[in-house]
């Protein structure tokens, strides 16, 4: 790795921290409807929505009612998004005259966007019209992220409140996360992107003659280049900020109209981690102790920064199989060098490596380089970051509530070591909480390993892999790791629109989302009913380096024990093959 690469990684995470701390405080105020300016501007809209919807903003929901509201709202969103795709030909704003989306793909896409996964079995600009992208996909980009923040808020109330059933109102949490948090952030980012050249228009197709016409497959000269335009900047902004990741174009943020410059790349990469990082500090404010925020935030960085460096190093080192053919992969002042297959010349392997780690640590899944073409180790670390359960920053809201499940396990394990009843923030952690945390941690992992095994056994599923050998296995493993942890990125060579893959990923995405979300709400309900125990001399402090170390150890141990055997069959074998080339 070059010195400039170290410097870039340091500046990147430094900038993230500088932005995340104040934003965390701001989100805390926004969730009470008190963010400066935004609260005053959007407060009336918020109250009008409540009136129309017959919502009492002071309602206190039990965990069961909160969960029912989440499921009903997400279920309705799923139906609407499915309907929009199936009715596409009958809807306006479709300059490409695209057909209705096939049923399996439409279900898959609806599940994918409602669960904040944004796994894409469809072909971006070639499948969906500007209207469906804008009124269907982008809306769920907001709402799925807002759902995550809402559930995090409910869990936090469970930790903070005493002897109560009430976890707050899902409608209020949803509305405030959408209107006061995600909307203003997206508006700002969208304008920054549009200023740099990310297109923003209502449909139409850009056309211009080619300077040097080329023959197509049948030998006829192609004299024109045509590119669908659309509301790209507005959609890219929320896909980055909401840990969604589904691009307007099939090539996602490698596409020059989604990510035209190094500045947009930096802004989009920061946006991937920004809200999940800020929510650590929001949480610190909610529980009234910022030391907990720093403990969680640094535990996440302690995992992510070394894995980012490892990914960048692997990509910058290049591909020995290509060096052998007489190709210069050496980084220098005249070229970025490294493994450039699937990467853009304006970005290069360092930006791509940082992005690959960020997008899989957070459950974003957008890409600025094609992950299928990453080097074996450059692909291993992102895959493992997903398999850790999307808790190293993870999804908006869902990352932190997932990490709090690991906190519960970590205090339990350390409680066993010192022989005391485990506590977190004054709440006794008992059998029910441990059971719920274990279920929520193990379910997605079981789907990843079980699903991959099944895919290896079903001939049509395994045949969907584009690359031969160990890399083909990696494509299958990556797909389930991505779907069951609601990431959405892919080793894109996999043909994912067939019946096996659409249905299998449907199940994986739903289990990965609601198999965690519902136990989390149940735990919030159980915690809210407990009394708070005052800390004593024997209480294990759940802040500071010791506890951060225990937490990191728990996350890494569970992730390594569960996935090392599977990873050995894919990227690790491929790495050994490549270096005996």
């Amino acid at each position: 790795m070059t010195g400039a690469a170290y410097a870039e990684i340091a500046v990147f995470f430094g900038t993230l921290t500088v932005l995340a701390v104040p934003l965390g405080g701001w989100i805390g105020r926004a969730m009470r409807g008190e963010a400066p300016l935004v609260g005053r501007l959007l407060g009336p809209v918020e109250r009008a929505v409540y009136r129309l919807a017959g919502v009492d903003p002071a309602e206190e929901m039990s965990w069961r009612r909160y969960a029912a509201a989440v499921l009903a709202f997400n279920g309705a969103g799923l139906l609407l998004l499915y309907a929009l795709q199936r009715l596409q030909p009958a809807l306006p704003l479709d300059p490409g005259r695209l057909a209705a989306v096939p049923r399996d793909v439409a279900v898959n896409t609806a599940v994918s966007f409602v669960t904040n996964t944004n796994w894409q079995s469809y072909g971006g600009e070639a499948t969906l019209s500007p209207l469906v992208q804008m009124a269907g996909l982008a809306v769920q980009n907001f709402l799925s992220a807002a759902t995550g923040i809402a559930v995090l808020a409910a869990l936090t109330r469970g930790l903070v409140r005493r002897s109560t059933q009430g976890l707050g109102s899902f409608w209020v949490d949803l509305t405030r996360s959408t209107l006061h948090v995600l909307l203003p952030l997206s508006l700002g980012l969208a304008l920054l992107l549009a200023g740099q050249g990310v297109v923003q228009s209502f449909g139409g197709v850009g056309r211009w003659p080619l300077r040097d016409p080329v023959p197509d497959a049948s030998g006829r000269p192609v004299v024109e280049q045509a590119i669908p335009m659309g509301p790209v900047a507005s959609q890219v902004a929320i896909k980055q900020l909401g840990t969604n990741g589904g691009g307007y174009y099939a090539a996602n943020s490698t596409h020059p109209f989604e990510n035209p410059t190094p500045l947009t790349n930096l802004a989009e990469a920061l946006a991937i981690l920004l809200v999940p990082a800020a929510l650590c500090f929001t949480f610190g404010g909610w529980v009234g102790d910022r030391r907990h925020a720093w403990t969680l935030y640094s535990a996440m960085l302690v995992i992510l920064v070394p894995l980012t460096m490892a990914t960048v190093a692997a990509e910058q080192a290049g591909n020995p199989a290509i060096t052998a053919v007489g190709v210069d992969e050496q980084p220098g002042p005249l070229q970025a060098g490294g493994n450039m297959e699937g990467k853009e010349a304006r970005l290069g392997p360092v930006d791509a490596g940082i992005w690959a780690a960020a997008t899989t640590a957070a459950s974003n899944g957008s890409v600025d380089a094609q992950h299928d073409s990453l080097t074996p180790l450059g692909g291993l670390w992102p895959m493992w970051l997903m398999q850790l359960g999307e808790v190293v920053f993870g999804g908006v809201g869902s990352g932190l509530y997932g990490m709090l499940l690991f906190v519960v396990v970590a205090v339990f394990v350390s409680g066993l070591m010192v022989g005391r009843t485990p506590e977190y923030l004054g709440k006794k952690i008992e059998a029910r909480e441990i059971k719920l945390a274990s279920v929520a941690i193990l379910l997605p992992s079981a789907v990843v390993l079980g699903g991959t095994a099944l895919a290896c056994l079903v001939p049509s599923a395994a045949a969907a892999a584009a690359n031969p050998g160990a890399h083909g296995f990696s494509e299958l493993l990556y797909a389930f790791s991505s779907a069951a942890n609601n990431n959405g990125s892919a080793f894109g060579g996999l043909t994912a629109d067939g019946p096996f893959w659409t249905r299998a990923t449907d199940v994986a995405m739903l289990v990965g989302r609601y198999g965690v979300l519902v136990p989390v709400l149940a735990m919030a309900g159980a915690l809210a009913q407990k009394r708070t125990v005052p800390p004593s001399a024997g209480t294990l402090p759940t802040h500071g380096p010791l506890f951060a170390g225990l937490l990191v150890g728990t996350v890494l141990l569970v992730g390594a024990l569960t996935f090392l055997p599977a990873l050995a069959l894919g990227p690790i074998v491929e790495h050994l093959q490549l270096h005996s080339w």
Binding site: A7, V49, F73, G195, Q335, M340, E341, G342, N467, G493
Partner: protein, 188 residues
């Protein structure tokens, strides 16, 4: 519950799916009219392409762009795509070997190692740039094809080099379309 779900979903669809993109579009049209509509550049009176989107160049008289993995034709704007070939894929190694041979055939006697970006497919299939090394590699061929002094072509490349942001973010690069338009401006 049914009323809350349906009203909230309808209101958010209207607001986030209609008003929000409309506001961004309106503001972009006022603030950044050229950028928001594709950053189109013209040569003379005619549009010559987008400054942000690459085009295929195959004539020896032009700087070649990076290989494109779009399926119908190279640099197909209607379906962006990378190759998705893995690092150990025999198809990848064969494609790179073929591209190296094509470059060597077009420029006999050039035995310098080939810059990696010139023989690998980009992520989008629409990459507008090559590295300065990849542009300099092609100077000899273009100078010969156009009967220009190589130093003049090299100076043109050097004038088009874009540096990383703050020396860190992004890679050194040259916009191929801009370079080729300038090349045509030199004459011959």
């Amino acid at each position: 519950m049914i009323r809350a779900v349906s009203v909230l979903l309808a209101a958010f669809t209207l607001l986030l799916g209609g008003v929000y993109p409309a506001v961004v579009t309106g503001l972009s049209r006022v603030l950044f009219p050229a950028q928001a509509t594709g950053s189109v550049v013209s040569a003379g009176a005619r549009p010559a392409g987008s400054a942000l989107v690459g085009q295929p160049f195959t004539s020896p008289r032009y700087f070649w762009s990076r290989p494109s993995a779009t399926t119908r034709v190279p640099y197909d704007g209607l379906a962006s795509a990378g190759s998705n070939l893995g690092p150990t894929s025999p198809a990848l190694v064969a494609a790179v070997r073929r591209r190296v041979e094509a470059l060597r055939t077009a420029d006999p006697g050039n035995v310098a190692p080939v810059p990696v970006d010139l023989v690998t497919a980009s992520g989008s299939g629409l990459d507008p740039h090559v590295s300065p090394a990849a542009a300099l590699y092609q100077v000899r061929r273009i100078a010969r094809a156009r009967g220009l002094p190589p130093d003049r072509v090299r100076a043109l490349v050097e004038a088009h080099v874009e540096r990383p942001l703050l020396g860190l973010f992004g890679a050194p690069r040259v916009n191929v379309l801009a370079l080729n338009l300038a090349l045509d401006g030199l004459g011959q």
